[in-house]
Each structure stands twice: as C-alpha cells, then as structure tokens.
Amino acid sequence: MSSKLFAPFELQYEITNILSREAHFLDNRRYEDWLDLLSDDIVYRMPMRVTTEKKDGSDILDEMAFFEETKKSLITRVQRLRTSSAWVENPPTRQRHLITNVLIEPGEKPDEYEVTSSFLFLRSRASDLHIEQLSGERRDVLRFVDGKWQIAARTIYPDQAVLGVMNLSMFL
C-alpha cells in the first residue's frame, strides 16, 4: 500500500498516529523503539530562540543550537541513558509529550511529507511539586519507505529564549 494512494484524511490519520506512537515510546522510555522510527540519515536539531526586534528578522537562531544530532549521536545519547550512572534519569523522571496541531504538506520528494506540530513537554522529577514544562513547534520530514514511516528530519523550535527546564535529558 503506497502512501500516495491515501486520501488526505487517511494520511492525516496515519501521520498523527505515528507521532502519537513516537510520543508513547518516549514517555515510556522505549528509546530503542523510538530510534527505529528515525531514518539513518536523520538530521535532528533544536536551534535557539532569541528575543529580537522585528526589524532584525527571525527570532530563530540557526547558528547555535541545543541539539545538533545525527542518528549516531542519538544512539550514543540513548546508550548513555541506559547506563547505571546517568544520574539525571536515575531515578527516572516522569515525562509526557503532548503533540497537537499536526499540519501536513507535501515534501520535496514523492514519498516525503513536511509535518508541523506543536508540543508541550511536561516532566516530574523526584518529589518536586513543580512540573517542568517546555513548549514549542516541531518541523519534521516524514518519509514512507518500504511500507514503513520514518522520521527523516526534525527541527525543534522552543518558545523560550531562556529554557525553564533544568536540563535537556529528554528527546523532543
């Protein structure tokens, strides 16, 4: 079954489901399953947001980032979280990835789609009553290969110029 045959609502349904599944993997620390969703050539970035005056143009700064990852570096990050001494997640925090406002546009290649979504990330650490949160937008390239969906690119744009989370031990 080729994705091109899908009616738009089916495509919307399918891609939204993939993003929900991805969030489920991340919320439940199924990081290896998560890595399987990513293409080997994935470009995974989180550029910085800066506060700028309108005349100075975009408030997204591509030059400097919070994440600047390849599949290989993401695998390394997952392997590290699997050690016994990645203290930031041992004891583990509780995480929730809420993904909404999924918009799909045709991609540059026939089997690729440009997918924009909003995220709200929530995290509960130890007995802290304060729940850390991070919101923003993700721009992905989703690719349909051999009957399987892959995330081929992700750019994460945080809303905050000063992140209100104490670290970025999570994936977004």
Binding site: M46, M48, V50, T51, T52, E53, K55, D56, L61, E63, M64, A65, F66, F67, E68, S73, T76, R77, Q79, R80, T83, S84, S85, A86, W87, V88, R125, A161, V162, L163, G164, V165, M166, N167, L168, S169
Partner: protein
C-alpha cells in the same frame, strides 16, 4: 521579636573557626540572609563578565545582559568602543531594550519616547522644549553607565563599585592562563551565535565550585562516560596535573594524564595552528598548553570555564566554554553558556568542535545533564533545621579536607599561582571560601576597627 538562627558575630566567628579546619558549615549554601549579604557585598563589588568583543561585531551592535538583577545594555558605539549602561530609561526607569541582541543607532523607550544613542546620550525627547522648557538639560539625563567596564583578551567585565581595583589587577595571575585560553591563536577566540541560557536548581557557589575547584566529582558524577568506554577507568584520571590557586578566589585545574603529559599534544588542535602558539605565547605558556588535556577553572564569583579535549573515532577537538552563573535566588541560577573557538581554526574543525560541545556541555550535554541533577540535590537537602543550624549542633559541616595540610606546592610548575601537584584537592575551594568571607565581612571589619 528577634528571629532565631540569624547571622551574627558569633555565627561568623564559628564559620571562620571551622574554615580554618577545612570545613564549611552547610547553612551557607542556601541561607536566605547570607544570599542577601552576598548580593550586596560580593556581586555589588566584584568584576562580572558581560560579554566577549566578538559578540559586538560593528558599531551599533548590542547585546543585553544581567549583573544579577541589574539589566545591562552592552553596545559598540560609533567610535567602535564597547560601552555598558544600565538598561533602564532615565525618565521613569522602564526596561529600555528587551531584545537579546541586534543593531541600533538609537534606543527609544516605548513609554514616553525618550531616545538614547550608542554613547548613552539622551538625544530625543518627545515634544522636548514644548513640555520641559529650555531649562531641561539633556546631558544630565543620559543612560547611567555601569561604573566600571574593562576588558582583558576580549572578555568584557563590568563592576558596580566605582572604587574597585582595576580588572587586570583583580584577575592577577589568571591573566597568564587567559592568554593561553583566549590569546593562543591569531585573531583570538570568537563566540558562536549567542549563549545558551536555562535555569537550574542550584546555588551559584556550588556551580562555581563545581567548575573552578572540583575535578574530583568527574569520576562519579560523570561515571556514565566511563561505563560507555569514553572516559578512562582509572578513578584518578581527572586528578592528574595541577590545581592552581590564585588570589581573589580564582583558580584553575590544569589536567594532564598519569605521565604528566596529555596524550594529545596542544589539546589535539590542528598542527597547522601550532606555530601560532609559539608566536603568541611565552615559552612556559607553550609548555603548559602542549601538555594539558583539560583546563577547567573559574574567576570569582560566578564566571567559570572549561577547555577540554573530546575525541571520537580518531577525531579530536577542543573548544572553549565560558559560563556565567547568574543568581536568581539562593536555590536558583540562570546559566549562560558561551561556545568559543579559535577564529583561526579550519572551518570543518570549528564545526566538529561545536558538535562536540553540544554533545557534552550545555543543557543537553551528556556531562552537564548529570551535573544539574547533583546541583539540585545540593540545594534541596540544604533547607532544613539541621542543615541550617548556625550553632552547628548537628555536625552540619561540609568536608573540604582533600589535600588539607600535607599537600605541598610543586615549585617546578611553570605557571603563576600556587600549584599543587594534583587536581584532586580542595585548595581552590578553600581559597574561594576565604575570599568570599573576606568580601562578606569587609564592612563588618571596618566597623570593628572604628569600635576598637
């Protein structure tokens, strides 16, 4: 009514006595009264890092910064000089410029329209003479300058105390190491983009010590890298080298290896750059740079730096990371993290070094993530009656006994400062504490002198 457990002469005397024994009362970590005192007596009087000259590329370039709670506008004026002003309109005090950075000839307050140029001069008042008359002297209402602004090796610092000692005198022996870190290559270092910023649960003293004075934490806090086979199994690995104590609470750890010489000459920097080091540095600075793997240290009170070597699959890279721990309360810091690299380095090297930085330090850094957890634990366990008891009835003292007594300086170390022959020592911490206390009690000492 007197509140119990306040800071008084007796608690300070007890603090001094314990410090003489290599101990630090646990209450100082997050005590709200000591925090208030620190803001006035330390942050109001010491040199604080504002930015690097490469962040202000041309006339009109500006960045906005904070000296704790004082908003600062750092701008390059028409003549090309870097100026720093209180980022607050002189009319009603509104925050003048809320952008992080940009380029402007004129800064206009959105409240009533008062406008200032890059020299801070008031150049425009809406309806000027019609409402204020001729007697309004515009030159009396310019932006208020940060009382002292001085720089060294492109690092611009501000000081709120007009009578502070000059920056170069304050940095003292640290200048020698700044020359290596910042002045080794032609054209010096450049900042990439803007600093990463995030808020950690931490006290500024703990984060400053963590970087300036504590390679001992590396083998445990960052043990995941040992588990991954990235860092050596030898628990002493971050201890080889010298811990150098300097005046005014500054310090640096010059980490080598078990042989006293790094496995990576000149921090693995491209050989094409080596002649620059010979040219820009003294022979003893070259010697230290050639043998060192990691420089990690700090300038009191809240500027830290690390210049490490990271290597994956035969590719080695080095970079420089400066960071300011901006206190937001006794248990909160806003971290400002700058990535810096030699302007003269090859472009592909710069890119690889940048990726190495993102993977290790900053909020997503696999090393720094675990630091943030530890910092949070330190403040969270420091708020109770036992930890905060100023009579110290519960043995509520932190241990700074590593290398206390018995550890003799190594006179053969080529750099200035007091160099101990290991980085696993609390010598820098103890010296930071001494300067911290000196700053805290300066006024009290003056009062005592008048009394006696």
């Amino acid at each position: 009514m007197m509140r119990k457990n306040r800071i008084d002469d007796k608690t300070l005397q007890l603090l001094k006595d314990k410090m003489k024994d290599g101990l630090m009362p646990q209450w100082v970590v997050t005590d709200p009264d000591i925090y208030e005192l620190e803001m006035e007596t330390i942050f109001g009087r010491t040199w604080q890092f504002l930015g690097h000259e490469s962040e202000l590329k041309e006339p009109g370039s500006y960045v906005t910064r904070w000296m704790v709670n004082d908003p600062v506008l750092l701008v390059r004026n028409k003549a090309g000089e870097c100026k720093a002003f209180l980022n607050s309109c002189t009319h009603r005090g509104a925050h003048l410029c809320t952008a992080d950075r940009g380029n402007k000839k004129t800064f206009t307050c959105p409240y009533h329209g008062w406008s200032f140029n890059t020299d801070g001069e008031l150049i425009g008042i809406v309806a000027g003479n019609k409402v204020y008359g001729e007697e309004m002297q515009k030159d009396e209402w310019g932006l208020r300058p940060i009382p002292r602004v001085e720089s060294y090796q492109g690092m611009i610092f501000g000081n709120l105390d007009p009578n502070a000692m000059p920056l170069e005198e304050y940095l003292g022996d640290m200048k020698w190491y700044f020359d290596i870190l910042l002045g080794r290559s032609d054209g010096g270092m450049e900042v990439r983009g803007v600093p990463q910023r995030w808020v950690a649960q931490a006290n500024w003293k703990a984060t400053s010590e963590n970087f300036a004075a504590d390679p001992y934490h590396v083998q445990t806090t960052h043990r995941s890298t040992v588990e991954m086979g990235i860092s050596p199994k030898d628990p002493l690995y971050a201890g080889y080298g010298h811990q150098v104590v300097m005046k005014n609470g500054h310090g640096i750890n010059v980490i080598t290896s078990s042989t006293g010489r790094s496995h990576y000459q000149f921090q693995g920097l491209p050989e094409s750059m080596w002649p620059m080091f010979e040219k820009n540095l003294s022979p003893s600075q070259v010697e230290v740079l050639s043998k060192t793997t990691v420089f990690v240290g700090g300038v009191f009170p809240n500027l830290s730096f690390v210049s490490p070597v990271h290597g994956t699959e035969g590719h080695l890279h080095n970079y420089l990371n400066f960071r300011v721990w901006r206190p937001l309360g006794p248990d909160k810091v806003e971290v400002w993290c700058w990535f810096m690299i030699d302007k003269a380095a090859p472009e592909d090297y710069k890119e690889a070094a940048y990726r190495g930085y993102i993977g290790s330090f900053g909020p997503s850094g696999t090393l720094e993530q675990d630091d943030t957890e530890v910092w949070a634990r330190m403040v969270q366990a420091n708020k109770g009656l036992m930890a905060r008891d100023k009579e110290l009835s519960y043995n509520n003292l932190c241990n700074y006994l590593m290398g206390f007594g018995g550890l003799e300086p190594d006179e053969s170390f080529p750099g200035p400062g007091i160099a101990y022959p290991t980085c696993y020592a609390d010598a820098i911490s103890r010296s930071m504490h001494e300067f911290w206390l000196e700053m805290l009690t300066k006024d009290m000492a003056a009062v005592e002198e008048v009394r006696s």
